[in-house]
């Protein structure tokens, strides 16, 4: 197996490089799994936590320009540990006797925010994929700033006005489906701040 430095791994995650992602999975997942299983979790929990951790690290790398100072192994383990502690909290499982498999570092609070955002992203994405093919395509093209005329041509729709109308219908359907999902209420949905409060904070 090809080895990668921490920097190469960071770049690989940013670029969604399958070779790097495979390397991480094959090299480090078993440690995460061992930790989760020693601490009241299952194989499936381990898979979920691992995936959540990689998505959080991706967000931090791409949005916050994260530089990982420790080894990647330690950083990944620490993020997974943090996420698992949060999940144990939610499940109201005692965590005072946590058994660690390896050393970890203290992770900054931003992890929790990214994790919550990713949970919402995944819910939105799940419902987006359930839309009709045409609805998915029209929303993607619209948000990619493709001119309405071009969208009409690509999708064989009769006019630009009709494209806008379809886009509206598709978006409302998506929002409605998301709001109806029981998971939506359980997620920490977006802070209740007005614009004024945002500027103050």
């Amino acid at each position: 197996m090809q080895e990668y430095t921490t920097l190469e791994i960071s770049d690989g995650i940013k670029e969604r490089d399958s070779s790097v992602l495979n390397f991480i999975y094959e090299k480090y997942f078993y440690q995460i799994k061992a930790f989760i299983k020693k601490n009241s979790g299952t194989d499936e929990d381990a898979q979920d936590v691992y995936q959540d951790a990689i998505l959080v690290i991706y967000q931090k790398l791409t949005r916050e320009n994260l530089k990982i100072d420790s080894s990647f192994n330690t950083y990944l383990y620490s993020v997974c540990r943090f996420i698992w502690l949060k999940k144990l909290d939610k499940r109201k499982i005692e965590k005072s006797f946590l058994v660690d498999s390896k050393k970890f570092i203290n992770i900054d609070g931003g992890i929790e925010d990214w994790h919550e955002l990713n949970e919402r992203y995944q819910l939105y994405q799940e419902h987006f994929k359930k839309l009709s093919f045409n609805c998915q395509k029209i929303l993607e093209l619209f948000l990619a700033k493709i001119p309405l005329k071009e969208i009409a041509r690509i999708l064989g729709l009769k006019s630009e006005v009709y494209v806008k109308k379809r886009k509206h219908i598709c978006k409302e359907k998506l929002v409605e489906n998301i709001k109806k999902d029981p998971k939506f209420k359980s997620l920490n949905i977006i802070e209740h701040k007005t614009v004024n409060e945002r500027f103050k904070s």
Binding site: R16, Q51, Y121, Y124, Q136, V175, I190
Partner: protein, 252 residues
């Protein structure tokens, strides 16, 4: 929105217009005023903006897809190099999610590396499309189709084909019959299956079927047909147009 005196649906449309940058100056000022005072509206705005971000953030979708593959796919069959290229265009992914063709990415790379023959190389790196069950988590509403996919996932293409064939009026079963027939090396029958899908021309499998047809011609040493097929793809706006162009260069 008291100031604007709008009902709920109008409010949603108004927020959407704001996100899309379609409000005039007066409307914009009114909306900002509302946003300053109405937390429910801010929530709605945030939700809708976040949804847009998800749809637009192709990187997140790609990464999630790869991680889902790691979660669900057998490690041996996980073709890491090719997956990324196949999901680069996420709007196409919607169609491709029915049948991701994971052979595409590595093909030109492979074909460039002589002294292997085209047939050996295509055969070596060819991967059948993923089943709907793998991609979407379930096949609902059709027990026969579910059974067919069950065999398909177990690589039992003979049994899968029997079930798919019993549903031959369905485009999905036609497409997957084609894959089974490739696996069973019945190339002429596979060609018939994919041609039926392409001729139907009103389904989500047309581009993939065109692409598979080209590959089958390569496998079957039908060089002239392969060139013709890849020319057809490269001159269209197919997702596989660029790869088809590359293959044509190699064949010539």
């Amino acid at each position: 929105m008291n100031g604007l005196n709008l009902d709920k649906m109008d409010t949603y449309k108004y927020i959407e217009d704001y996100i899309d940058g379609d409000l005039n100056k007066n409307e914009l000022e009114s909306l900002l005023d509302e946003l300053n005072n109405d937390k429910t509206m801010v929530e709605e705005l945030n939700l809708r903006s976040e949804i847009n971000n998800v749809i637009h953030d192709t990187g997140f979708s790609e990464l999630k897809y790869i991680l889902d593959q790691q979660k669900s796919t057998d490690r041996q069959s996980y073709a890491s190099h090719s997956i990324r290229r196949d999901i680069m265009k996420t709007w196409h992914m919607a169609a491709a999610s029915f049948a991701l063709v994971i052979v595409a990415g590595g093909l030109w790379y492979i074909l460039s590396n002589k002294p292997y023959t085209t047939e050996i190389l295509v055969g070596r790196y060819y991967k059948p499309a993923q089943s709907i069950g793998q991609v979407r988590g379930q096949v609902s509403g059709n027990e026969t189709l579910a059974k067919a996919f069950n065999f398909y996932k177990q690589n039992d293409y003979h049994s899968a084909l029997e079930y798919f064939s019993s549903l031959d009026n369905q485009i999905t079963s036609k497409f997957y019959s084609g894959i089974c027939l490739i696996e069973l090396k019945k190339y002429d029958d596979a060609i018939d299956s994919f041609k039926a899908v392409v001729d139907d021309n009103d389904n989500l499998y047309v581009e993939q079927s065109d692409w598979y047809l080209g590959l089958i011609y390569l496998m079957n040493n039908q060089k002239k047909d392969a060139i013709e097929q890849f020319n057809k793809i490269s001159n269209s706006d197919s997702y596989y147009a660029d790869q088809a162009k590359e293959i044509i260069k190699y064949i010539r």
